[in-house]
Assembly symmetry: D2
């Protein structure tokens, strides 16, 4: 099981379309950024203040495929995962990136009222799982190098019928 508890719960909006890749073993990995906004009344000025926080969220396995197919820029998501900090290097300097990891131990819910509005996005045809789109790990943009090198079990044993 675990020693300790490491849990993150977020509800926010996607800053852009998900970035979905496939590991050599065929498992999907989806990266998104998620915005949450806090607001409070400033004690001094009495003015309302606002601060938007951007979270890096990484999905693995079946949930990554669902995110890749149904979530879009602006989508509202519930996410339950765990905090993980990766070390990476650039120009000989070590850096750290903290992400919220969502795999089988976590949860994801699309919160958009897809049925009430008329602009429910047509599910993007996902690349077949048996035929990984990007078997080789591509370069990632600055600040977000090769994610997901953590040893992660395969996520096959999962029901497929309805994505969410």
């Amino acid at each position: 099981m675990a020693r300790g508890v490491n849990k993150v719960i977020l509800i926010g909006n996607l800053g852009g379309d998900p970035d979905v890749r496939y590991l050599p073993n065929g498992n999907a990995v989806a990266n998104i950024t998620l915005a949450t906004t806090d607001s409070w009344k400033d004690k001094q000025s009495g003015q309302m203040q606002e601060r938007t926080e951007w979270h890096r969220v990484v999905f693995f396995g079946r949930v990554a495929e669902v995110v890749g197919e149904y979530a879009r820029k602006g989508s509202k998501l519930y996410v339950e995962g765990r905090l993980q900090t990766r070390e990476w290097e650039k120009d000989g300097v070590k850096r750290y990136t903290t992400e919220v990891v969502v795999d089988l131990g976590g949860q994801m819910q699309l919160l958009d009222g897809r049925s009430q509005g008329g602009d429910a996005p047509a599910p993007r045809q996902s690349a077949p799982r048996q035929q990984p789109q990007q078997p080789s790990q591509q370069q990632r943009p600055e600040q977000q190098p090769a994610a997901a090198q953590q040893a992660t079990p395969d996520y096959d044993s999962f029901d497929d019928d309805i994505p969410f």
Copy 2:
């Protein structure tokens, strides 16, 4: 209130004694690193795997004072806060540090079995709030110091009587 939800829940052990400072207005700020350990059985090898995650946690106000007085290296803590990423610069290069912020909207619980052991440390005399120990915000070491060398040190057992 807020748009969205930004919540972190941790149970782990302190990597070192808390670092308590005081803001010019007299409010306390306490920094700690907290270790949580995940373990799982590797699918390939069948071996148990373990990974320790180190979290930076920052407490503000009254809860910071309590942490400073009663939490010590090795203490087990429950923490509920929110994720926040700070930007800072070093040698002209922007870097980011993600922390768990605990203030009035959060919660903290010391989980050490204070009653069973006999070697309760005397609560460290805290600096009075009216007389800030460190009126000027000092430089922090490197902003991302030695913490978290990925090895859980021995947690000197301890316990105590009072305020929570």
Copy 3:
């Protein structure tokens, strides 16, 4: 603070319009039922199973007013509160009702995409707080007797500008 942690997090849909009342001191109390649905694949039959759970949720103070004005039957809500079991009597028999209580220590978020659909409900004009609609506690239907007798402080000190 507290000894222990008592936290409930729900996302679900309202089974009916909120029932809003006012305490003698003018504070609002809103009762709703919230449905969450679990689904899983049955090991024996391989069939998908489903179970809907109905939760009683009670809001106090400002958040109760917001629920009363903006939430409706079918609305999707995020709720963070605490578990509380009330004892009541009927025909000389003690019974117990467990509720999720949401007050200043909790949180509520309306998750309906109010902007995308065209049928955003016009905010129902709430009874003015100074003129309680129902100063005397009315009879409640079976299974749900007089809620909210718990000593609860006033919830006045709260920003009012935007409800959510």
Copy 4:
């Protein structure tokens, strides 16, 4: 997966030793009551108030065995589960009991410093799983009739090496 979120997080102390039973299929079920205590300052009197809440918690499968072997009256536990209300009948009257259910989707952590003190309770020898202690469902005391009739998959596929 699920529609909605149904999550309970508790840290509290056991009101008594766990009540462990075995289902006909050999799976363990453990029932406990868990106390959490809230305290707050009363607005009127300025006095500190306290209220202890008792929660019924039901564990299934491997986690039920761990609870049965290592948790005792007074033990401090972290529990993550879901809310579930059962209907039962007594003297022709329907009643309801709300419980926190902890199975594979949940989590449990013993928070007692078992290693540092010398009075770590000797693990009670558990009945072997292959030889269910109580194949037939016994009567339960009032207010707590036959739990766990919910269709629950088997909990065999679980690592066994170390309980926590």
